[in-house]
Amino acid sequence: MIELRVNNTTHRLDLDPETPLLWVLREDLGLLGTKYSCGIGECGACVVHVDGEAVRSCVTPVSEVTGKEITTIEGLDGPIAEALRDAWIEGDVPQCGYCQPGQLMTATELLANNPHPSDSDIDEAMTGVLCRCGTYQGIRQAIHRASGRSSK
């Protein structure tokens, strides 16, 4: 039995402890916002927060995160997340949209650690989250816009 705390709810699950957190979230808990894309931690579509830190859930065995606070895109809240969401929607950042939950989870962590990131701070923090549609300009602008609002 594995105990998992996700979005402020505790779940008890009977599963293979090696199962990547991604698939537990998606298939056992029905939290489908976290996406599978590469399975080797290269693209960032699966980023969730574990104790506030951005983690690639596709390469994180579920046994490693028992007893920790896991947050997915569905449970993301607070002023930073709100500001980012508003900036994302206002700027029509998503195109196909598939990588965007991972982008937002990563951007939230960035602004939590660095409320006023420069372009190069953004590039450094976001560079491991791949977007095949090339929404990168929109992401940069939305992070700047959110940074201005969330820190007011």
């Binding site: 599978y36 929607i89 598939y98 965007q100 940069r140």
Partner: protein, 747 residues
């Protein structure tokens, strides 16, 4: 996601025709649907909550306006774009607009393909007239309903933002309040369309309807589909492309936890489990012997060597203007170059997947697809059902880029579901997605130019050696475009007769796209297609052949400009005497980039111009190359003429997207073949452009009231040559093979 119920009589609009798109097609007269003979039908029963005046619009008592979209949303913003066209003519309140993907019905066929399908940057231009008329006739219907309610003349009433207003008395009724009256009233014919000067949405920077769901993570992609009783399947494909299953030992696998079935299917072996992870883990441990098949031993080097031998063959002449051979005989100078391009993967962020439920009396397929018609046809054929028994539910697509026009992953889901008699979702791993892609074909291209004593270009001779991406598409579409009433055996015979004919007439033109239709006026001009298919699966890849041919043409034109001592922009302008529209686009990009002024800091410029399906794009790339041979693209200034712009925000997004897609192929990844398989398999060895590598992209739009063309693909082709030409300006090294590597630039 819900789906449009089509209960209207639309069959009458079906007509068999032979169109110029992919060849033998069954076309639909879409226009006719905008004004059906009968009045608007309630969507269900007499107390319906909505009315559907035509196949494209439903109006609800709650004032909601549902726009039925027949094009797949894969990021290009088409749901919002098509909704804007309807909303404009309907005078709808944008806040009340929602979209729904169309069900399967001939009325929703794309006239360019003959089936419901999204591709070729055709969505807006094929729907433009139809949706405007649908919107306008619904508007007039609602005006008539309001006028009848008030017992006034319709001319005294006008539609404004989701209401009808009686001008003299300022009374108003919302669209939702008019549903009952409008039901059963005749649909107005010959309605007036708005003049472009009266547009209050088209041309404005409107927001996308899907931004919220995609930001919250609630948008439903194919991989997110959940069906009661559904199982998940992993598929093991042969280690070589074209390989076959020899023997399978599944005894151990069947006893693993969560494993329900292990079965062989046409493409390999399927492991069906309760969960993805169980299926994958078991699949990886299966003991399978494979027959490596005919491609074993094949490599990119072998393909390239063979194509080099073939490049001087005459092949198929796609274009032959003037007298090319004579011009070369009389030339003062001949310039010749060889360009090579590799296979490229689509790398859609959402790996290929499909959910199918085959039953005795029907089949449901939930799939992120660009080819609903192809999906319905293949599912019906495999399940032994009639077309009408197959329902295709289109989800959001996590990227498409042409890959999702293929149906290989659909075949797998249908075969497995038919066998196990349960709903099943097939999900590929990234490795399977890359290795089993239907790649953008590689190509070997020989270009020669004849130049006279004054340095003027007198002849251009272009030979393209590559496989045809079009052939596989024709094979998929041929049975799907046959008349629906044709019994399947006859349909298959007809398709097998028609396909080779269509291939003969279309494949060469398609492979030469962006080479044979360049805007430059050259008196003696020849393009040859030398077809050779090594057997590696190929398909449509965003902008299809144009992504290759534009690199060759625009790089070579740049070579010629440099050799003639002319400025590359001026050299092109001089060749555009017959194409003022292209010249204007080129000059706009050059002007906005400040082409005349040199850039400081080791940054150099390159330019490229391209036309894709009547959209003209010019790009100026600003590039620096460091001592290690690292190429950095700082800014790309773009000018676009795509006719009437529906949403400038989306035009900008699509061009920026094309730049990112094109830059990945120019600077990052390639697919190389070794022993009959792709050597690359994931983002560690097929890297994508990152945010740190994304240049500033500026888009300048040429104002136009011409009908809209397309914008989803045209941003890709000019990127590689613009960057390669800038690299030449920076280093003096001519790039004739992409992706550009450090090795090309150092030493």
């Amino acid at each position: 996601m819900t789906h449009a119920r089509s209960e209207m009589e639309r069959r009458q609009f079906l007509q068999v025709s032979c169109l110029a798109g992919v060849g033998l097609l069954v076309g639909c007269s879409l226009q006719a649907v905008a004004a059906p003979a009968r009045g608007p039908q309630p969507t269900s029963g007499s107390n319906a909550q909505e009315i559907a005046p035509n196949a494209w619009i439903r109006i609800g008592r709650d004032d909601s306006v549902t726009v039925i979209v027949n094009h797949s949303e894969m990021g290009q913003g088409i749901h919002s774009g098509l909704a804007m066209i309807v909303a404009e003519e309907l005078e709808a309140d944008w806040e009340k607009i929602r979209t729904e993907h169309a069900s399967m019905d001939p009325v929703y066929a794309n006239p360019k393909f003959g089936v419901q399908a999204t591709g070729g940057s055709t969505s807006v231009n094929t729907c433009w007239d139809t949706l405007r008329k649908a919107g306008a006739s619904t508007r007039e219907l609602l005006v008539a309903a309001a006028a009848a309610t008030w017992r006034v003349h319709p001319r005294e009433c006008s539609a404004v933002k989701g209401t009808v207003v009686h001008e003299p008395t300022k009374r108003s009724l919302r669209y939702g309040q008019l549903v009952d009256t409008a039901a059963g009233m005749p649909i107005p014919k010959d309605v007036r369309l708005k003049k472009p000067k009266d547009f209050n949405m088209i041309g404005k920077r409107m927001g996308r309807l899907d931004s919220r769901a995609k930001t919250l993570g609630t948008a439903v992609f194919g991989i997110d589909v959940k069906v009661d009783g559904m199982l998940t399947a992993a598929v093991v494909h042969p280690p070589t492309l074209g390989g076959r299953l020899k023997s399978l030992d599944s005894s151990k696998a069947k006893s693993m936890p969560g494993i329900r079935h292990v079965l062989s299917i046409s493409s390999g072996v399927a492991v069906v489990a309760d969960r993805f992870w169980q299926a994958q883990k078991t699949a990886a441990a299966l003991r399978i012997e494979w027959d490596k098949g005919p491609l074993a031993g094949l490599s990119s080097e072998k393909i390239s060597a063979r194509w080099k031998q073939m490049a001087e063959e005459s092949g198929e002449e796609i274009r032959d203007d003037g007298n090319v051979d004579a011009a070369f005989k009389n030339a003062a100078k001949v310039v010749e170059a060889v360009y090579e391009l590799p296979y490229q993967a689509h790398a859609c962020p959402e790996p290929m997947n499909c959910t199918a439920h085959v039953r005795e009396d029907g089949c449901d397929v939930w799939v992120p697809t660009q080819n609903q018609g192809g999906v319905q046809e293949i599912a019906a054929a495999l399940a032994g059902l009639d077309l009408d028994q197959v329902r295709v539910h289109t989800t959001f697509l996590g990227g498409g880029f042409g890959r999702r026009g293929d149906v290989d992953f659909v075949i797998e889901a249908v075969e497995i579901s038919k066998e196990i008699k349960k709903p099943v979702k097939v999900v590929w791993t990234r490795e399977q997605d890359v290795r089993n892609d239907h790649f953008r074909p590689a190509a070997y291209q020989l270009v020669r130019a004849a130049v006279d004593a004054e340095g003027a270009l007198t002849a251009f001779d272009h030979s393209i050696v590559c496989p045809s991406y079009m052939d596989a598409m024709i094979d998929t579409l041929a049975p799907a475009v046959m008349p629906r009433w044709l019994p399947r055996p006859l349909k298959n015979v007809a398709a097998s007769v028609a396909a080779p004919i269509v291939k003969r007439s279309r494949s060469g033109k398609a492979a030469a796209g962006g080479a044979s239709d360049i805007p430059y006026a050259i008196d003696n001009f020849r393009v040859r297609f030398i077809k050779d298919d090594p057997g590696i699966p190929v398909g449509a890849w965003r902008s299809v052949a144009n992504s290759r041919n534009a690199f060759v043409v625009e790089s070579f034109v740049d070579e010629l400009a440099v050799r003639s001592g002319k400025d590359p922009v001026q050299y092109r302008c001089d060749l555009l005497g017959k194409s003022p529209r292209h010249r204007k686009v080129l000059e706009l990009a050059a002007k906005k980039a400040g082409w005349e002024k040199r850039l400081p800091g080791g940054i150099h410029r390159g330019v490229a111009l391209h036309d894709f399906h009547h959209t003209a794009v010019a790009m100026v790339a600003e590039v620096s190359v460091d001592d290690n041979g690292s190429v950095r693209v700082h800014r790309v200034v773009c000018a676009v003429d795509c006719g009437t712009v529906i949403n400038p925000k989306n035009v900008e997004a699509q061009i920026a997207s094309g730049v990112a897609f094109g830059l990945t192929a120019t600077l990052k990844g390639e697919i190389t073949i070794k022993d009959g398989r792709a050597e690359q398999s994931n983002f560690d060895d097929f890297p994508l452009l990152t945010i740190a590598e994304m240049p500033v992209v500026q888009v300048h739009i040429v104002p136009s009231t011409a009908p809209p063309t397309g914008i989803g693909e045209v941003g890709v082709p000019p990127v590689a040559p613009a960057v390669a030409n800038a690299v030449f300006a920076a280093t003096g090294k001519r790039i004739r093979k992409i992706p550009i590597t450090r090795k090309d630039l150092v030493g």
